[in-house]
Symmetry: C2
Subunit: 324 residues, 2 copies
Protein backbone atom coordinates (compact mmCIF):
# COMPACT_ATOMS: atom_id res chain seq x y z
CA UNK A 1 0.00 0.00 0.00
CA UNK A 2 1.47 3.32 -1.12
CA UNK A 3 1.23 6.09 1.47
CA UNK A 4 -0.63 9.33 0.87
CA UNK A 5 2.62 11.25 0.94
CA UNK A 6 4.08 9.01 -1.79
CA UNK A 7 0.97 9.55 -3.89
CA UNK A 8 1.11 13.31 -3.43
CA UNK A 9 4.73 13.29 -4.57
CA UNK A 10 3.79 11.25 -7.66
CA UNK A 11 1.08 13.79 -8.44
CA UNK A 12 3.21 16.85 -7.80
CA UNK A 13 5.86 15.51 -10.14
CA UNK A 14 3.29 14.65 -12.79
CA UNK A 15 1.73 18.12 -12.51
CA UNK A 16 5.15 19.67 -13.06
CA UNK A 17 5.59 17.58 -16.20
CA UNK A 18 2.31 18.77 -17.72
CA UNK A 19 3.36 21.00 -20.57
CA UNK A 20 1.33 23.23 -22.81
CA UNK A 21 2.15 25.07 -26.04
CA UNK A 22 4.04 28.35 -25.72
CA UNK A 23 1.43 30.13 -27.86
CA UNK A 24 -0.98 31.71 -27.36
CA UNK A 25 0.74 32.53 -24.06
CA UNK A 26 -2.34 34.11 -22.47
CA UNK A 27 -4.27 30.88 -23.03
CA UNK A 28 -1.73 28.44 -21.61
CA UNK A 29 0.39 30.33 -19.05
CA UNK A 30 -2.55 30.76 -16.65
CA UNK A 31 -3.03 26.97 -16.67
CA UNK A 32 0.57 26.34 -15.64
CA UNK A 33 0.32 29.19 -13.14
CA UNK A 34 -2.81 28.01 -11.31
CA UNK A 35 -1.56 24.42 -11.23
CA UNK A 36 1.74 25.60 -9.74
CA UNK A 37 0.01 27.32 -6.82
CA UNK A 38 -0.39 23.88 -5.35
CA UNK A 39 -2.95 22.84 -2.81
CA UNK A 40 -3.20 19.48 -1.12
CA UNK A 41 -3.70 17.45 -4.33
CA UNK A 42 -6.32 15.59 -2.34
CA UNK A 43 -8.65 14.84 -5.24
CA UNK A 44 -6.07 13.28 -7.58
CA UNK A 45 -4.63 11.34 -4.64
CA UNK A 46 -8.08 9.77 -4.21
CA UNK A 47 -7.95 8.47 -7.80
CA UNK A 48 -4.62 6.79 -7.10
CA UNK A 49 -5.72 5.45 -3.70
CA UNK A 50 -8.83 3.89 -5.20
CA UNK A 51 -6.85 2.28 -7.99
CA UNK A 52 -4.36 0.96 -5.44
CA UNK A 53 -7.17 -0.35 -3.23
CA UNK A 54 -8.24 -2.79 -5.94
CA UNK A 55 -4.68 -3.79 -6.76
CA UNK A 56 -4.40 -1.75 -9.95
CA UNK A 57 -1.23 -0.19 -11.29
CA UNK A 58 -1.10 3.22 -9.63
CA UNK A 59 0.99 4.74 -12.42
CA UNK A 60 -1.69 3.90 -14.99
CA UNK A 61 -4.07 6.08 -12.95
CA UNK A 62 -1.85 9.15 -13.03
CA UNK A 63 -3.32 10.80 -16.17
CA UNK A 64 -6.95 10.49 -14.94
CA UNK A 65 -5.78 11.71 -11.52
CA UNK A 66 -4.30 14.75 -13.27
CA UNK A 67 -7.59 15.15 -15.13
CA UNK A 68 -9.36 15.51 -11.78
CA UNK A 69 -6.77 18.04 -10.58
CA UNK A 70 -6.93 20.05 -13.83
CA UNK A 71 -10.72 19.97 -13.69
CA UNK A 72 -10.70 21.10 -10.05
CA UNK A 73 -8.41 24.01 -10.91
CA UNK A 74 -10.61 24.94 -13.87
CA UNK A 75 -13.52 25.31 -11.44
CA UNK A 76 -11.34 27.43 -9.13
CA UNK A 77 -10.31 29.68 -12.04
CA UNK A 78 -13.91 30.33 -13.06
CA UNK A 79 -15.26 30.48 -9.48
CA UNK A 80 -12.68 33.13 -8.60
CA UNK A 81 -13.96 35.31 -11.46
CA UNK A 82 -17.55 34.82 -10.32
CA UNK A 83 -16.66 35.50 -6.68
CA UNK A 84 -14.46 38.44 -7.66
CA UNK A 85 -11.69 36.94 -5.49
CA UNK A 86 -8.31 38.72 -5.68
CA UNK A 87 -6.34 35.93 -4.00
CA UNK A 88 -6.20 32.14 -4.11
CA UNK A 89 -3.91 30.36 -1.64
CA UNK A 90 -2.18 33.67 -0.99
CA UNK A 91 -1.39 34.26 -4.67
CA UNK A 92 -3.08 36.51 -7.21
CA UNK A 93 -6.00 34.86 -8.97
CA UNK A 94 -5.76 34.48 -12.75
CA UNK A 95 -8.36 37.14 -13.59
CA UNK A 96 -6.51 39.51 -11.24
CA UNK A 97 -3.04 38.77 -12.62
CA UNK A 98 -4.24 38.81 -16.24
CA UNK A 99 -7.88 39.84 -16.77
CA UNK A 100 -11.33 38.22 -16.60
CA UNK A 101 -11.36 37.33 -20.32
CA UNK A 102 -8.12 35.43 -19.93
CA UNK A 103 -9.61 33.64 -16.91
CA UNK A 104 -12.73 32.64 -18.83
CA UNK A 105 -10.91 31.35 -21.91
CA UNK A 106 -8.02 29.65 -20.08
CA UNK A 107 -10.58 27.95 -17.86
CA UNK A 108 -12.42 26.69 -20.94
CA UNK A 109 -9.18 25.32 -22.35
CA UNK A 110 -8.47 23.66 -18.98
CA UNK A 111 -11.79 21.84 -18.98
CA UNK A 112 -10.93 20.46 -22.42
CA UNK A 113 -7.44 19.48 -21.19
CA UNK A 114 -9.19 17.66 -18.36
CA UNK A 115 -11.09 15.55 -20.89
CA UNK A 116 -7.90 14.82 -22.82
CA UNK A 117 -6.24 13.51 -19.66
CA UNK A 118 -9.30 11.59 -18.56
CA UNK A 119 -9.37 9.76 -21.90
CA UNK A 120 -6.01 8.16 -21.11
CA UNK A 121 -7.62 4.96 -19.83
CA UNK A 122 -8.13 1.57 -21.44
CA UNK A 123 -10.80 1.30 -24.09
CA UNK A 124 -12.91 -1.09 -22.02
CA UNK A 125 -13.50 1.56 -19.32
CA UNK A 126 -13.35 4.68 -21.48
CA UNK A 127 -17.11 5.17 -21.64
CA UNK A 128 -17.96 4.54 -17.97
CA UNK A 129 -15.03 6.69 -16.82
CA UNK A 130 -16.12 9.60 -19.03
CA UNK A 131 -19.72 9.20 -17.93
CA UNK A 132 -18.66 9.57 -14.29
CA UNK A 133 -16.55 12.58 -15.26
CA UNK A 134 -19.47 14.18 -17.11
CA UNK A 135 -21.85 13.63 -14.20
CA UNK A 136 -19.32 15.00 -11.75
CA UNK A 137 -18.60 18.06 -13.85
CA UNK A 138 -22.29 18.86 -14.29
CA UNK A 139 -22.90 18.47 -10.55
CA UNK A 140 -20.11 20.94 -9.74
CA UNK A 141 -21.66 23.54 -12.09
CA UNK A 142 -25.06 23.00 -10.47
CA UNK A 143 -23.53 23.31 -6.98
CA UNK A 144 -21.74 26.54 -7.89
CA UNK A 145 -24.93 28.02 -9.35
CA UNK A 146 -26.92 27.13 -6.22
CA UNK A 147 -24.14 28.52 -4.02
CA UNK A 148 -24.25 31.84 -5.91
CA UNK A 149 -28.04 31.93 -5.56
CA UNK A 150 -27.73 31.48 -1.79
CA UNK A 151 -26.06 34.89 -1.61
CA UNK A 152 -29.33 36.48 -2.76
CA UNK A 153 -31.56 34.10 -0.82
CA UNK A 154 -32.52 34.80 2.80
CA UNK A 155 -34.29 31.58 3.65
CA UNK A 156 -31.81 28.85 2.78
CA UNK A 157 -32.99 25.59 4.31
CA UNK A 158 -30.46 23.19 5.81
CA UNK A 159 -31.44 20.47 3.30
CA UNK A 160 -30.77 22.84 0.41
CA UNK A 161 -27.40 23.65 1.92
CA UNK A 162 -26.46 19.99 2.29
CA UNK A 163 -27.51 19.33 -1.31
CA UNK A 164 -25.42 22.30 -2.48
CA UNK A 165 -22.25 21.06 -0.76
CA UNK A 166 -22.94 17.55 -2.04
CA UNK A 167 -23.01 18.89 -5.61
CA UNK A 168 -20.24 21.47 -5.34
CA UNK A 169 -17.72 19.57 -3.23
CA UNK A 170 -18.64 16.00 -2.35
CA UNK A 171 -19.43 14.61 -5.80
CA UNK A 172 -15.87 15.28 -7.02
CA UNK A 173 -14.43 13.20 -4.16
CA UNK A 174 -16.87 10.41 -5.01
CA UNK A 175 -16.19 10.68 -8.74
CA UNK A 176 -12.42 10.64 -8.25
CA UNK A 177 -12.67 7.47 -6.17
CA UNK A 178 -15.12 5.75 -8.53
CA UNK A 179 -12.90 6.46 -11.54
CA UNK A 180 -9.83 5.21 -9.67
CA UNK A 181 -11.71 2.07 -8.68
CA UNK A 182 -12.65 1.29 -12.30
CA UNK A 183 -9.03 1.78 -13.38
CA UNK A 184 -7.99 -0.56 -10.57
CA UNK A 185 -10.31 -3.24 -11.91
CA UNK A 186 -13.17 -2.95 -9.40
CA UNK A 187 -16.62 -4.24 -10.29
CA UNK A 188 -19.21 -1.60 -11.09
CA UNK A 189 -20.88 -2.33 -7.75
CA UNK A 190 -17.73 -1.84 -5.68
CA UNK A 191 -16.85 1.29 -7.64
CA UNK A 192 -20.29 2.70 -6.80
CA UNK A 193 -19.83 1.87 -3.13
CA UNK A 194 -16.53 3.70 -3.18
CA UNK A 195 -18.31 6.63 -4.85
CA UNK A 196 -20.75 6.72 -1.93
CA UNK A 197 -17.86 6.53 0.53
CA UNK A 198 -16.31 9.59 -1.13
CA UNK A 199 -19.54 11.51 -1.54
CA UNK A 200 -20.63 11.13 2.07
CA UNK A 201 -17.10 11.77 3.27
CA UNK A 202 -17.10 14.92 1.15
CA UNK A 203 -20.20 16.25 2.88
CA UNK A 204 -18.65 15.49 6.28
CA UNK A 205 -15.43 17.15 5.08
CA UNK A 206 -17.27 20.36 4.14
CA UNK A 207 -19.11 20.42 7.47
CA UNK A 208 -15.73 20.10 9.20
CA UNK A 209 -14.58 23.06 7.10
CA UNK A 210 -17.56 25.10 8.28
CA UNK A 211 -16.77 24.19 11.91
CA UNK A 212 -13.06 24.96 11.57
CA UNK A 213 -13.83 28.38 10.14
CA UNK A 214 -15.31 29.34 13.51
CA UNK A 215 -13.64 26.97 15.96
CA UNK A 216 -10.31 26.32 14.27
CA UNK A 217 -7.03 27.10 15.98
CA UNK A 218 -5.84 30.42 14.50
CA UNK A 219 -2.28 29.14 14.71
CA UNK A 220 -3.00 26.12 12.56
CA UNK A 221 -6.01 27.01 10.38
CA UNK A 222 -4.88 28.10 6.92
CA UNK A 223 -7.54 30.77 6.49
CA UNK A 224 -8.63 33.58 8.76
CA UNK A 225 -10.76 32.19 11.59
CA UNK A 226 -14.22 33.77 11.46
CA UNK A 227 -13.95 34.59 7.75
CA UNK A 228 -17.35 33.02 7.02
CA UNK A 229 -18.96 35.02 9.85
CA UNK A 230 -17.49 38.29 8.61
CA UNK A 231 -18.78 37.59 5.08
CA UNK A 232 -22.24 36.41 6.25
CA UNK A 233 -21.52 33.17 4.40
CA UNK A 234 -24.44 30.79 4.64
CA UNK A 235 -22.69 27.83 6.23
CA UNK A 236 -24.21 24.90 8.09
CA UNK A 237 -23.59 26.81 11.33
CA UNK A 238 -25.33 30.04 10.33
CA UNK A 239 -28.29 28.31 8.69
CA UNK A 240 -28.73 25.97 11.65
CA UNK A 241 -28.43 28.87 14.10
CA UNK A 242 -31.08 30.92 12.27
CA UNK A 243 -33.28 27.82 12.17
CA UNK A 244 -33.03 26.91 15.87
CA UNK A 245 -32.62 30.29 17.54
CA UNK A 246 -35.29 31.86 19.73
CA UNK A 247 -36.58 35.26 18.64
CA UNK A 248 -34.01 37.17 20.65
CA UNK A 249 -30.99 35.30 19.26
CA UNK A 250 -32.49 35.43 15.79
CA UNK A 251 -32.81 39.20 15.98
CA UNK A 252 -29.30 39.48 17.28
CA UNK A 253 -27.95 37.32 14.44
CA UNK A 254 -29.91 39.27 11.83
CA UNK A 255 -28.63 42.51 13.34
CA UNK A 256 -25.02 41.41 12.83
CA UNK A 257 -25.80 40.16 9.32
CA UNK A 258 -27.41 43.48 8.36
CA UNK A 259 -24.53 45.70 9.52
CA UNK A 260 -22.63 47.22 6.61
CA UNK A 261 -19.82 48.42 8.88
CA UNK A 262 -18.62 46.57 11.92
CA UNK A 263 -15.59 45.69 13.97
CA UNK A 264 -14.57 42.28 12.61
CA UNK A 265 -13.37 40.82 15.91
CA UNK A 266 -16.48 42.04 17.69
CA UNK A 267 -18.80 40.53 15.09
CA UNK A 268 -16.97 37.18 15.12
CA UNK A 269 -17.06 37.08 18.92
CA UNK A 270 -20.76 37.99 19.09
CA UNK A 271 -21.89 35.49 16.45
CA UNK A 272 -19.70 32.77 17.96
CA UNK A 273 -21.29 33.45 21.35
CA UNK A 274 -24.72 32.91 19.81
CA UNK A 275 -23.53 29.69 18.20
CA UNK A 276 -22.19 28.57 21.58
CA UNK A 277 -25.46 29.36 23.33
CA UNK A 278 -27.37 27.38 20.71
CA UNK A 279 -24.85 24.52 20.79
CA UNK A 280 -24.39 24.78 17.05
CA UNK A 281 -20.93 23.29 17.13
CA UNK A 282 -22.21 20.12 18.79
CA UNK A 283 -25.07 19.97 16.28
CA UNK A 284 -22.65 20.34 13.35
CA UNK A 285 -20.26 17.72 14.73
CA UNK A 286 -23.19 15.34 15.10
CA UNK A 287 -24.29 15.98 11.49
CA UNK A 288 -20.72 15.46 10.36
CA UNK A 289 -20.60 12.16 12.22
CA UNK A 290 -23.81 11.02 10.54
CA UNK A 291 -22.26 11.51 7.11
CA UNK A 292 -18.99 9.94 8.23
CA UNK A 293 -20.94 6.89 9.40
CA UNK A 294 -22.71 6.58 6.05
CA UNK A 295 -19.35 6.92 4.38
CA UNK A 296 -17.72 4.17 6.48
CA UNK A 297 -20.72 1.91 6.01
CA UNK A 298 -20.29 2.10 2.23
CA UNK A 299 -16.58 1.34 2.59
CA UNK A 300 -17.34 -1.69 4.77
CA UNK A 301 -19.73 -3.07 2.13
CA UNK A 302 -17.01 -3.19 -0.50
CA UNK A 303 -16.08 -6.76 -1.33
CA UNK A 304 -12.50 -6.64 -0.02
CA UNK A 305 -10.96 -7.80 3.24
CA UNK A 306 -11.31 -5.12 5.93
CA UNK A 307 -7.55 -4.82 6.46
CA UNK A 308 -7.18 -3.82 2.84
CA UNK A 309 -9.63 -0.96 3.43
CA UNK A 310 -8.13 0.13 6.73
CA UNK A 311 -5.84 2.65 5.07
CA UNK A 312 -8.71 4.52 3.39
CA UNK A 313 -10.68 4.48 6.63
CA UNK A 314 -7.78 5.97 8.55
CA UNK A 315 -7.26 8.50 5.78
CA UNK A 316 -10.91 9.56 6.11
CA UNK A 317 -10.70 9.72 9.89
CA UNK A 318 -7.59 11.87 9.54
CA UNK A 319 -9.43 14.26 7.21
CA UNK A 320 -12.31 14.63 9.64
CA UNK A 321 -10.19 15.16 12.72
CA UNK A 322 -7.94 17.70 11.02
CA UNK A 323 -7.44 21.08 12.60
CA UNK A 324 -6.45 22.99 9.48
CA UNK B 1 -29.15 11.95 -50.67
CA UNK B 2 -30.95 14.05 -48.10
CA UNK B 3 -31.11 17.76 -48.94
CA UNK B 4 -29.62 20.46 -46.71
CA UNK B 5 -33.07 21.77 -45.94
CA UNK B 6 -34.19 18.32 -44.75
CA UNK B 7 -31.10 18.07 -42.56
CA UNK B 8 -31.69 21.50 -41.06
CA UNK B 9 -35.25 20.49 -40.22
CA UNK B 10 -33.99 17.30 -38.55
CA UNK B 11 -31.56 19.39 -36.49
CA UNK B 12 -34.04 22.09 -35.59
CA UNK B 13 -36.45 19.48 -34.31
CA UNK B 14 -33.73 17.69 -32.37
CA UNK B 15 -32.59 20.98 -30.83
CA UNK B 16 -36.13 21.65 -29.68
CA UNK B 17 -36.24 18.22 -28.03
CA UNK B 18 -33.07 18.84 -26.01
CA UNK B 19 -34.28 19.19 -22.47
CA UNK B 20 -32.46 20.22 -19.34
CA UNK B 21 -33.38 20.06 -15.65
CA UNK B 22 -35.65 22.82 -14.33
CA UNK B 23 -33.20 23.57 -11.50
CA UNK B 24 -31.00 25.43 -11.07
CA UNK B 25 -32.89 27.60 -13.55
CA UNK B 26 -30.06 30.10 -14.05
CA UNK B 27 -27.77 27.29 -15.14
CA UNK B 28 -30.06 25.62 -17.66
CA UNK B 29 -32.46 28.29 -18.98
CA UNK B 30 -29.65 30.20 -20.74
CA UNK B 31 -28.75 27.00 -22.63
CA UNK B 32 -32.27 26.56 -23.94
CA UNK B 33 -32.43 30.30 -24.66
CA UNK B 34 -29.26 30.57 -26.74
CA UNK B 35 -30.09 27.39 -28.65
CA UNK B 36 -33.55 28.76 -29.45
CA UNK B 37 -32.12 31.91 -31.04
CA UNK B 38 -31.34 29.77 -34.03
CA UNK B 39 -28.78 30.42 -36.69
CA UNK B 40 -28.22 28.45 -39.84
CA UNK B 41 -27.35 25.16 -38.05
CA UNK B 42 -24.61 24.85 -40.64
CA UNK B 43 -22.12 23.01 -38.42
CA UNK B 44 -24.43 20.20 -37.28
CA UNK B 45 -25.72 19.86 -40.85
CA UNK B 46 -22.14 19.13 -41.89
CA UNK B 47 -22.01 16.19 -39.45
CA UNK B 48 -25.14 14.72 -41.00
CA UNK B 49 -24.00 15.41 -44.58
CA UNK B 50 -20.69 13.68 -43.97
CA UNK B 51 -22.39 10.67 -42.44
CA UNK B 52 -24.78 10.54 -45.38
CA UNK B 53 -21.91 10.85 -47.86
CA UNK B 54 -20.49 7.51 -46.70
CA UNK B 55 -23.88 5.83 -46.63
CA UNK B 56 -24.30 5.95 -42.84
CA UNK B 57 -27.59 6.26 -40.99
CA UNK B 58 -28.17 10.00 -40.73
CA UNK B 59 -30.32 9.66 -37.62
CA UNK B 60 -27.49 7.97 -35.73
CA UNK B 61 -25.42 11.10 -36.33
CA UNK B 62 -27.98 13.45 -34.79
CA UNK B 63 -26.62 13.45 -31.19
CA UNK B 64 -23.02 14.21 -32.31
CA UNK B 65 -24.42 16.85 -34.67
CA UNK B 66 -26.19 18.40 -31.69
CA UNK B 67 -22.91 18.18 -29.76
CA UNK B 68 -21.30 20.37 -32.42
CA UNK B 69 -24.19 22.84 -32.26
CA UNK B 70 -24.18 22.96 -28.45
CA UNK B 71 -20.41 23.40 -28.49
CA UNK B 72 -20.68 26.19 -31.06
CA UNK B 73 -23.25 27.99 -28.93
CA UNK B 74 -21.08 27.54 -25.83
CA UNK B 75 -18.31 29.42 -27.66
CA UNK B 76 -20.78 32.14 -28.64
CA UNK B 77 -21.98 32.49 -25.04
CA UNK B 78 -18.45 32.95 -23.70
CA UNK B 79 -17.23 35.03 -26.68
CA UNK B 80 -20.13 37.44 -26.19
CA UNK B 81 -19.02 38.03 -22.58
CA UNK B 82 -15.42 38.58 -23.69
CA UNK B 83 -16.49 40.90 -26.53
CA UNK B 84 -18.99 42.68 -24.28
CA UNK B 85 -21.63 42.16 -26.97
CA UNK B 86 -25.18 43.18 -26.04
CA UNK B 87 -26.89 41.42 -28.94
CA UNK B 88 -26.60 38.11 -30.78
CA UNK B 89 -28.75 37.57 -33.87
CA UNK B 90 -30.83 40.55 -32.80
CA UNK B 91 -31.60 39.11 -29.35
CA UNK B 92 -30.08 39.95 -25.97
CA UNK B 93 -26.94 37.97 -25.20
CA UNK B 94 -27.02 35.71 -22.15
CA UNK B 95 -24.72 37.87 -20.00
CA UNK B 96 -26.88 40.87 -20.88
CA UNK B 97 -30.21 39.15 -20.16
CA UNK B 98 -28.92 37.50 -16.96
CA UNK B 99 -25.41 38.53 -15.89
CA UNK B 100 -21.81 37.62 -16.76
CA UNK B 101 -21.53 34.98 -14.01
CA UNK B 102 -24.56 33.17 -15.40
CA UNK B 103 -22.99 33.35 -18.86
CA UNK B 104 -19.71 31.88 -17.61
CA UNK B 105 -21.27 29.02 -15.68
CA UNK B 106 -23.99 28.15 -18.18
CA UNK B 107 -21.34 28.10 -20.86
CA UNK B 108 -19.27 25.69 -18.80
CA UNK B 109 -22.28 23.43 -18.37
CA UNK B 110 -22.89 23.62 -22.13
CA UNK B 111 -19.39 22.45 -22.95
CA UNK B 112 -19.98 19.43 -20.71
CA UNK B 113 -23.36 18.82 -22.36
CA UNK B 114 -21.51 18.88 -25.67
CA UNK B 115 -19.30 16.03 -24.49
CA UNK B 116 -22.33 14.06 -23.30
CA UNK B 117 -23.93 14.35 -26.73
CA UNK B 118 -20.69 13.59 -28.55
CA UNK B 119 -20.32 10.36 -26.59
CA UNK B 120 -23.50 9.00 -28.19
CA UNK B 121 -21.56 7.10 -30.85
CA UNK B 122 -20.63 3.44 -31.16
CA UNK B 123 -17.84 2.19 -28.91
CA UNK B 124 -15.55 1.42 -31.83
CA UNK B 125 -15.37 5.10 -32.83
CA UNK B 126 -15.80 6.68 -29.38
CA UNK B 127 -12.12 7.45 -28.88
CA UNK B 128 -11.31 8.86 -32.34
CA UNK B 129 -14.51 10.94 -32.34
CA UNK B 130 -13.69 12.45 -28.94
CA UNK B 131 -10.09 13.07 -29.97
CA UNK B 132 -11.30 15.09 -32.96
CA UNK B 133 -13.73 16.95 -30.68
CA UNK B 134 -10.94 17.73 -28.18
CA UNK B 135 -8.61 18.98 -30.90
CA UNK B 136 -11.36 21.10 -32.40
CA UNK B 137 -12.35 22.59 -29.06
CA UNK B 138 -8.77 23.47 -28.17
CA UNK B 139 -8.23 25.09 -31.57
CA UNK B 140 -11.30 27.29 -31.12
CA UNK B 141 -9.99 28.50 -27.74
CA UNK B 142 -6.61 29.26 -29.30
CA UNK B 143 -8.27 31.09 -32.19
CA UNK B 144 -10.39 33.19 -29.84
CA UNK B 145 -7.34 34.10 -27.74
CA UNK B 146 -5.36 35.14 -30.82
CA UNK B 147 -8.36 37.12 -32.12
CA UNK B 148 -8.55 39.02 -28.80
CA UNK B 149 -4.81 39.70 -28.94
CA UNK B 150 -5.18 41.18 -32.43
CA UNK B 151 -7.23 44.01 -30.93
CA UNK B 152 -4.14 45.16 -29.03
CA UNK B 153 -1.71 44.35 -31.82
CA UNK B 154 -0.92 46.89 -34.57
CA UNK B 155 1.17 44.76 -36.87
CA UNK B 156 -0.96 41.70 -37.57
CA UNK B 157 0.54 39.82 -40.50
CA UNK B 158 -1.73 38.22 -43.09
CA UNK B 159 -0.37 34.76 -42.24
CA UNK B 160 -1.24 35.24 -38.57
CA UNK B 161 -4.73 36.31 -39.58
CA UNK B 162 -5.23 33.26 -41.79
CA UNK B 163 -4.02 31.00 -38.97
CA UNK B 164 -6.41 32.72 -36.53
CA UNK B 165 -9.46 32.17 -38.74
CA UNK B 166 -8.34 28.59 -39.38
CA UNK B 167 -8.32 27.95 -35.62
CA UNK B 168 -11.36 29.98 -34.65
CA UNK B 169 -13.72 29.12 -37.51
CA UNK B 170 -12.41 26.62 -40.02
CA UNK B 171 -11.38 23.78 -37.71
CA UNK B 172 -14.95 23.33 -36.45
CA UNK B 173 -16.23 22.82 -40.01
CA UNK B 174 -13.46 20.30 -40.60
CA UNK B 175 -14.05 18.56 -37.25
CA UNK B 176 -17.81 18.34 -37.84
CA UNK B 177 -17.26 16.70 -41.22
CA UNK B 178 -14.57 14.32 -39.97
CA UNK B 179 -16.76 13.15 -37.09
CA UNK B 180 -19.72 12.68 -39.41
CA UNK B 181 -17.51 10.70 -41.80
CA UNK B 182 -16.39 8.32 -39.04
CA UNK B 183 -20.01 7.79 -37.98
CA UNK B 184 -20.86 7.08 -41.61
CA UNK B 185 -18.21 4.35 -41.72
CA UNK B 186 -15.47 6.20 -43.65
CA UNK B 187 -11.87 5.04 -43.42
CA UNK B 188 -9.57 7.22 -41.31
CA UNK B 189 -7.93 8.45 -44.49
CA UNK B 190 -11.17 9.53 -46.15
CA UNK B 191 -12.35 11.13 -42.91
CA UNK B 192 -9.13 13.17 -42.80
CA UNK B 193 -9.59 14.24 -46.40
CA UNK B 194 -13.08 15.41 -45.55
CA UNK B 195 -11.61 17.29 -42.59
CA UNK B 196 -9.27 19.11 -44.98
CA UNK B 197 -12.19 19.84 -47.30
CA UNK B 198 -14.02 21.46 -44.36
CA UNK B 199 -11.03 23.28 -42.94
CA UNK B 200 -10.00 24.88 -46.23
CA UNK B 201 -13.63 25.63 -47.04
CA UNK B 202 -13.91 27.27 -43.63
CA UNK B 203 -11.04 29.63 -44.36
CA UNK B 204 -12.59 30.51 -47.72
CA UNK B 205 -15.94 30.97 -45.97
CA UNK B 206 -14.47 33.46 -43.47
CA UNK B 207 -12.74 35.38 -46.28
CA UNK B 208 -16.09 35.60 -48.03
CA UNK B 209 -17.52 36.95 -44.78
CA UNK B 210 -14.83 39.63 -44.68
CA UNK B 211 -15.59 40.58 -48.29
CA UNK B 212 -19.35 40.66 -47.73
CA UNK B 213 -18.97 42.96 -44.77
CA UNK B 214 -17.69 45.63 -47.14
CA UNK B 215 -19.14 44.65 -50.49
CA UNK B 216 -22.33 42.87 -49.47
CA UNK B 217 -25.72 44.02 -50.66
CA UNK B 218 -27.22 45.99 -47.73
CA UNK B 219 -30.62 44.59 -48.68
CA UNK B 220 -29.50 40.99 -48.31
CA UNK B 221 -26.56 41.00 -45.89
CA UNK B 222 -27.71 40.07 -42.38
CA UNK B 223 -25.35 42.44 -40.59
CA UNK B 224 -24.66 46.13 -41.12
CA UNK B 225 -22.47 46.60 -44.20
CA UNK B 226 -19.22 48.29 -43.19
CA UNK B 227 -19.45 47.10 -39.56
CA UNK B 228 -15.88 45.77 -39.63
CA UNK B 229 -14.59 49.08 -41.01
CA UNK B 230 -16.41 51.10 -38.35
CA UNK B 231 -14.93 48.88 -35.61
CA UNK B 232 -11.39 48.86 -37.10
CA UNK B 233 -11.69 45.06 -37.14
CA UNK B 234 -8.53 43.46 -38.45
CA UNK B 235 -9.97 41.53 -41.37
CA UNK B 236 -8.19 40.13 -44.39
CA UNK B 237 -9.12 43.31 -46.24
CA UNK B 238 -7.73 45.78 -43.72
CA UNK B 239 -4.54 43.81 -43.08
CA UNK B 240 -3.92 43.36 -46.81
CA UNK B 241 -4.62 47.02 -47.46
CA UNK B 242 -2.17 48.17 -44.78
CA UNK B 243 0.37 45.71 -46.17
CA UNK B 244 0.12 46.75 -49.81
CA UNK B 245 -0.71 50.44 -49.57
CA UNK B 246 1.70 53.19 -50.59
CA UNK B 247 2.63 55.71 -47.89
CA UNK B 248 -0.20 58.08 -48.77
CA UNK B 249 -2.95 55.43 -48.59
CA UNK B 250 -1.39 53.96 -45.48
CA UNK B 251 -1.49 57.33 -43.76
CA UNK B 252 -5.07 57.83 -44.85
CA UNK B 253 -6.07 54.39 -43.53
CA UNK B 254 -4.27 54.98 -40.23
CA UNK B 255 -5.96 58.36 -39.95
CA UNK B 256 -9.40 56.76 -40.18
CA UNK B 257 -8.38 54.00 -37.74
CA UNK B 258 -7.13 56.54 -35.20
CA UNK B 259 -10.28 58.72 -35.18
CA UNK B 260 -12.27 58.34 -31.97
CA UNK B 261 -15.23 60.20 -33.41
CA UNK B 262 -16.33 59.99 -37.01
CA UNK B 263 -19.30 59.92 -39.34
CA UNK B 264 -19.86 56.21 -39.89
CA UNK B 265 -20.99 56.47 -43.51
CA UNK B 266 -18.10 58.77 -44.33
CA UNK B 267 -15.54 56.41 -42.77
CA UNK B 268 -16.98 53.36 -44.54
CA UNK B 269 -16.98 55.20 -47.88
CA UNK B 270 -13.42 56.48 -47.43
CA UNK B 271 -11.94 53.14 -46.39
CA UNK B 272 -13.84 51.33 -49.13
CA UNK B 273 -12.44 53.80 -51.65
CA UNK B 274 -8.91 52.95 -50.48
CA UNK B 275 -9.69 49.23 -50.74
CA UNK B 276 -10.97 49.82 -54.27
CA UNK B 277 -7.89 51.76 -55.27
CA UNK B 278 -5.68 48.96 -53.94
CA UNK B 279 -7.85 46.24 -55.53
CA UNK B 280 -8.23 44.55 -52.18
CA UNK B 281 -11.50 42.91 -53.13
CA UNK B 282 -9.91 41.19 -56.10
CA UNK B 283 -7.02 40.09 -53.90
CA UNK B 284 -9.36 38.67 -51.27
CA UNK B 285 -11.47 36.85 -53.86
CA UNK B 286 -8.30 35.32 -55.26
CA UNK B 287 -7.19 34.17 -51.81
CA UNK B 288 -10.65 32.76 -51.21
CA UNK B 289 -10.45 30.87 -54.48
CA UNK B 290 -7.07 29.40 -53.49
CA UNK B 291 -8.58 27.93 -50.32
CA UNK B 292 -11.66 26.77 -52.19
CA UNK B 293 -9.41 24.96 -54.67
CA UNK B 294 -7.53 23.21 -51.86
CA UNK B 295 -10.86 22.28 -50.36
CA UNK B 296 -12.21 20.81 -53.62
CA UNK B 297 -8.97 18.97 -54.25
CA UNK B 298 -9.31 17.16 -50.92
CA UNK B 299 -12.91 16.29 -51.72
CA UNK B 300 -11.88 14.89 -55.09
CA UNK B 301 -9.27 12.64 -53.43
CA UNK B 302 -11.89 10.90 -51.31
CA UNK B 303 -12.37 7.33 -52.43
CA UNK B 304 -15.97 7.66 -53.61
CA UNK B 305 -17.46 8.15 -57.08
CA UNK B 306 -17.50 11.85 -58.01
CA UNK B 307 -21.28 11.93 -58.46
CA UNK B 308 -21.68 10.94 -54.82
CA UNK B 309 -19.56 13.97 -53.80
CA UNK B 310 -21.29 16.38 -56.17
CA UNK B 311 -23.80 17.42 -53.54
CA UNK B 312 -21.11 18.52 -51.06
CA UNK B 313 -19.25 20.34 -53.81
CA UNK B 314 -22.36 22.25 -54.83
CA UNK B 315 -23.09 22.98 -51.17
CA UNK B 316 -19.60 24.46 -50.80
CA UNK B 317 -19.93 26.48 -53.99
CA UNK B 318 -23.24 27.79 -52.72
CA UNK B 319 -21.63 28.88 -49.46
CA UNK B 320 -18.89 30.73 -51.28
CA UNK B 321 -21.14 32.50 -53.75
CA UNK B 322 -23.61 33.56 -51.07
CA UNK B 323 -24.55 37.20 -50.73
CA UNK B 324 -25.62 37.13 -47.09
Amino acid sequence: MTTLKDLQIIIDEAVKKLSYPAHPADLYEPITYILSIGGKRLRPALVLMACDLFGGDVLSAVPPALAIEVFHNFTLMHDDIMDNAPLRRGRETVHQKWNPNVGILSGDAMLIEGYKLMMQVDNNILRPVLEIFNTTATAVCEGQQIDMQFEQQNDVHIDEYLEMIRLKTAVVLGGALEIGALIGGATGKDAELLYTFGEQLGIAFQLQDDILDVYGDPEKFGKQVGGDIMANKKTYLLIKALETADTESQNELNHWISLKEFDAAEKVAAVTAIYNKLQIRENAVKAMQTYADKSFKALESIDLPMERKQYLKEFAEGLLSRDK
